[in-house]
């Protein structure tokens, strides 16, 4: 089963969760996702996700000078984003619980 397909379903929620930790920028988001094990992520998919979140009003974006000098986009979560993130966490918990029952239940039956 393709890992990238599985990731696409939860990517928006995970990116929102990273931004909710504190104001951040593209490179930092990529690094956090990579450290968390999202190394199979197609990196170009991050920016369309950020654009979608911005257009939906779930994150806010401001431009400021980075420590190295060039203009950088900094992302922060909005109130609507926090609400959406809370809902995503609930949905994710429910789905993983159901999937766990099925997958662990299947293994138990196979072992017996």
């Amino acid at each position: 089963m393709d890992q990238a397909q599985l990731m696409k379903g939860i990517l928006e929620g995970c990116v929102l969760a990273v931004i909710a930790r504190g104001e951040t920028y593209g490179y930092e988001i990529l690094s956090i996702l990579e450290q968390s094990g999202f190394d199979a992520l197609g990196e170009g998919t991050l920016y369309p996700v950020l654009t979608r979140l911005d257009k939906s009003g779930l994150i806010a974006c401001r431009k400021a000078r980075s420590p190295l000098g060039p203009v950088r986009k900094y992302y922060s979560v909005t109130d609507a984003g926090r609400t959406q993130l809370a809902e995503f966490r609930e949905r994710y918990a429910a789905i993983t619980k159901s999937a766990d029952i099925i997958l662990n239940g299947t293994e138990k039956e196979e072992s017996t």
């Binding site: 593209g26 490179y27 170009g44 369309p48 190295l68 060039p70 203009v71 950088r72």
Partner: protein
């Protein structure tokens, strides 16, 4: 924001990715602000990775064309409409200026010299040709982006060739056909569009940024971008000075130690030469106007002809003076900086110039 100047800060594989993004943009019909935004964000990403020496494949993956397709996939309907509005704004300015000139010249004897056609057919032909050109560039894009090696210059040339062929085809197809419109209609139409455009733009800016000024432009003119511009310019001046040094050294006309003093003297004289050049241009312009005035008086022509000629020649000479004056001012500032730094470092000028023209190293950035 000058993408070429930003690119000069990147090296190796980071620069390669940035250049591929430029090729992608060149073959696409993207809105200017969108392009600026995306290139700026990509530059920040690549520069940060370069400074931390993170492999570029960890950022963009091994499939760069796929990364670029995903990266630019958010250019939607809104951006296309903004682009269309912006293009129409430019066309309106051209049509407005030409119509104004035609209206001013219409009732006057100088009409023979300055009448321009108010043929709307060339403008319509240009718009249709432009749309076809965009489709042609988009059709070539996959080949450009998927090529193993990014021949940015070659694709630039291909785009220019397609553009020229379109212009030629347009001229042949239009031929002698004419679709003249009354000047007042063109003035009213273009004037109305521009008024609406700038009003809507001002309202949107006021709502979003609290000001009608273009804050994004101001952002890209700050000290960091100015420093890159100055550094790139200084490098160009240094390359010229180094090249001259090698020529003079070959002919035995200079020594390494004497080159700094040679340029310090030359630099002092250049400021004076610039003043003489400005005076010469001003006197030449006045002489040309006076001569034309006397000739017109002799031929019994109206003083308006002289005034009109004076207006045109003063405008042309002003822009020529400003253009070359700007270049000379920048060159003088770059030379001044080079000579001051070199003298402060205690190096010979050729040695200092040698260091200055070295390629940017991965950890060096214009802070």
């Amino acid at each position: 924001m000058n993408a070429e100047l930003l690119k000069s800060q990147l090296t190796g594989e980071y620069r390669e990715v940035f250049e591929r993004a430029q090729t992608y943009i060149m073959m696409s019909d993207f809105e200017e602000r969108y392009t600026e935004d995306k290139l700026s964000e990509l530059f920040d990403l690549l520069l940060t990775a370069q400074s931390e020496q993170k492999p570029v494949t960890q950022l963009v993956g091994r499939d760069v064309p796929r990364f670029l397709n995903d990266y630019f996939s958010d250019h939607g309907l809104r951006e296309h409409l903004l682009n269309a509005a912006e293009t129409l704004r430019r066309v309106c300015w051209v049509v407005l200026v030409i119509s104004l000139l035609n209206w001013l010249a219409a009732e006057h004897p100088i009409a023979d010299f300055f009448t321009v056609r108010t043929d709307i057919i060339y403008v319509l032909g240009g718009i249709i040709g432009g749309l076809l050109f965009v489709q042609a560039a988009r059709a070539l894009r996959p080949a450009a982006v998927n090529a193993e090696k990014n021949h940015y210059g070659l694709w630039c040339l291909a785009v220019i060739v397609v553009f020229v062929l379109m212009i030629m085809a347009e001229s042949i197809l239009i031929g002698d056909r004419a679709l003249a419109l009354p000047v007042w209609m063109l003035l009213a139409g273009t004037g109305a569009y521009l008024l609406v455009y700038y009003t809507v733009q001002s309202i949107c800016r006021l709502k979003r940024y609290g000001t009608v000024r273009d804050t994004q432009k101001a952002l890209y003119k700050d000290a960091y971008y100015q420093r890159i511009t100055d550094m790139t310019y200084e490098k160009g001046v240094a390359e010229g000075m180094l090249s001259q040094y090698r020529r003079l050294l070959k002919r035995g006309k200079i020594t390494e130690e004497g080159y700094l003093a040679y340029w310090q003297e030359k630099h002092c004289k250049s400021a004076q030469s610039e003043k003489y050049a400005t005076w010469f241009l001003a006197l030449f312009t006045l002489a040309a106007i006076a001569f034309t005035g006397i000739e017109n008086l002799h031929d019994g022509q109206s003083w308006v002809d002289t005034a009109f000629f004076a207006l045109i020649i003063i405008t042309m000479e002003y822009f020529i003076w400003r253009f070359f004056g700007k270049i000379e001012k920048r060159s003088a500032a770059a030379r001044e900086h080079i000579l001051t730094e070199c003298a402060a470092n205690g190096q010979t000028l050729p040695a200092y110039l040698d260091e200055l023209v070295k390629p940017v190293q991965p950890n060096e950035t214009a802070h």
